[in-house]
Amino acid sequence: MFKNLIKISVVSLFLFTKLFAGIELLGAGATFPYPLYSKMFDVYYKTYGIKVNYQSIGSGGGVRQLMEKTVDFGASDAFLSDEELKKFPNPVVHVPITVGAVVIAYNLPGNPELRLTPSVLVDIFMGKIKKWNDRRIKELNPDVDLPGLEIIVVYRSDGSGTTFIFTDYLCKISDEWKKKIGKGKSVKWLTGIGAKGNEGVSAFIKQTPGAIGYIELAYALQNNIPFVLLKNKAGRFVKPSVKSVSLAADIELPNDMRISLTNTSAEEGYPISGFTWIIVYRNLYHGKLSYKKAKELVKLLWWMIHDGQKYCEKLHYAPLSEKAVKKAEKIIRSIVYKGTPILKQN
């Protein structure tokens, strides 16, 4: 009796898996674009029936999983440095998908609008400015009633592309930061508390009076968290938005699309903007994908930089400029399987 039960369950399990075997693509990485990817993959599934299982574990996690070949594609807002590229068993390519803004979000009673300059910002995150009613913050915001609350910095505890974009910016505007802390997906923060993912940081800021942290624009808007108007290189206090981000992205782009957009010279550009990429092996055979899967992955990427772009703006991400799309197309066309490009030339 017992034996029969086992037999039945094994057979039905097997049948089930055959029945429900569809193409499923597995990806992991950045939390930065997660609201957008989540929408894109949902639409893609409803349109084409292809399931994309994306786990937002942070850019660092995505890169690692891709290196270990436990996922089909990785996602990161920090492009791989030359050193990191060497660590990969086979060459990879970066496909840009969208541009986003890293905003400085905070929790203050009354949700006032704050303006900050780069030097005040970096001193807050270095722990030099400890209270909200500090003279230097007051100077920039004379009309705001700033409380004597302690400033609680919250940073990303996981390997984060958002951290990379933010610290990349801080390095550009502060030699001290560059020397003491530097830039990267993980850095040694001088003050504050760590949270996981853009989600974790947003949740923490939302619930903790006096908190300040850096998150992607979509998270701030979706959760009604106020954010800073930051003074850019041209001297203007810019509000992060699809427009100001697009202006920052309007620059000369390299062929492999590995470029930073921070501290833009654009007059109305938002200074902490950045691309986010999906990273795949150039030869998907090396990525341990079957030909069928590889084809679907390339089709997905093509869709994401064309039809998928229409979901960007609504979710507060800047769509790729025409120049960027052209470069991305070239990169996708260079993806091969065992030596033959997957996308037929047309």
Partner: protein
């Protein structure tokens, strides 16, 4: 009979297989931690620097965090555990009230830890935050205290269930001898029942402690994810289990992953010792 001989040898084989499994667990952990052991040696236990960027790892902040929360939660939960044990084992051994309390205590143990964590975030953290704002401490809300409070509720049933069974087992003639000498119930409990059941009570305390020690999810959700030595009860921190939960999927460097597994190895070793020491103490105090 032949069939039986065959069967018995199969039994012995499964017995050995289990031991083999156990040994495999130890060696798997050891092998994967080797990189970390080689790189840091003893300093892994004494260093409080956990720096994935500089690739320097030391377990001390998490060891302290674990001990801090485990002992604190044990302290908080003990009066409650003992109260329940006495209630069900001595005062109200039978009856519908005791049945209800008994069910309720079992339920406490059955609630999944992620739900405790969820409750901790939404109910406890705002309260602690308000408390911290009143005292003038940074209002993280999360931290050692919050984690200990959640843990203490979770571990109440463990000490109480064992203690209660043991208390029930105290021979009635001993108890009645106490009464016949004019003792109050309180004195009988204090002077006869507790000493007699001490080994069982200790076993229960050990069980609660072990549970608090290894608890992962509820702690991860309310401890604040802070990789430095906690400075006070209101400080955020991390335990050995919670740092693994938080960082495992994102450890991009081999040395990072190896260090996390190294912590897992220590969890195994410490669990082993708690069990071993516990058994020793129980054997020593068991009244023949």
């Amino acid at each position: 009979m032949k069939k039986d001989k065959l069967f018995f040898s199969v039994l012995w084989i499964t017995g050995f297989l289990f031991v083999f499994l156990f040994i495999l667990i130890f060696f798997s952990l050891l092998k994967e931690s080797f990189l970390s052991i080689k790189s840091f040696g003893i300093s892994f236990l004494t260093s409080s620097e956990w720096d994935p960027v500089a690739e320097k790892f030391g377990m001390l902040p998490f060891l302290v965090g674990t001990l801090f929360t485990s002992f604190l939660s044990l302290l908080i939960s003990l009066p409650f555990s003992m109260a329940i044990a006495l209630f069900l084992g001595e005062y109200f051994k039978t009856g519908s009230i005791s049945k209800i309390l008994s069910y309720a205590t079992d339920l406490l143990a059955g609630i999944p830890s992620v739900i405790y964590g969820f409750w901790g975030i939404y109910l406890l953290v705002p309260i602690i935050r308000k408390l911290e704002m009143k005292i003038g401490v940074p209002p993280y809300g999360v931290g050692i205290l919050t984690a200990s409070l959640v843990l203490s509720v979770m571990i109440i049933p463990y000490a109480s269930s064992i203690a209660r069974e043991i208390i029930k087992l105290v021979p009635q003639d001993l108890v009645e001898a106490g009464y016949s000498l004019g003792s109050t119930r309180y004195e009988v409990i204090k002077k006869i029942i507790i000493p007699y059941s001490f080994s069982g009570i200790f076993a229960g305390i050990l069980l609660s402690f072990g549970r608090a020690f290894g608890e992962t999810m509820a702690v991860t959700m309310v401890i604040g994810n802070y990789n430095f030595l906690p400075k006070s009860i209101f400080s955020p921190g991390n335990t050995m289990a919670s740092v693994i939960a938080n960082e495992f999927t994102e450890a991009t460097k081999d040395i990072h992953l190896s260090s996390l597994i190294h912590i897992g190895l220590w969890l195994f070793v410490i669990t082993f010792f708690i069990n071993y020491l516990g058994n020793l103490v129980i054997k020593k105090y068991k009244v023949k």
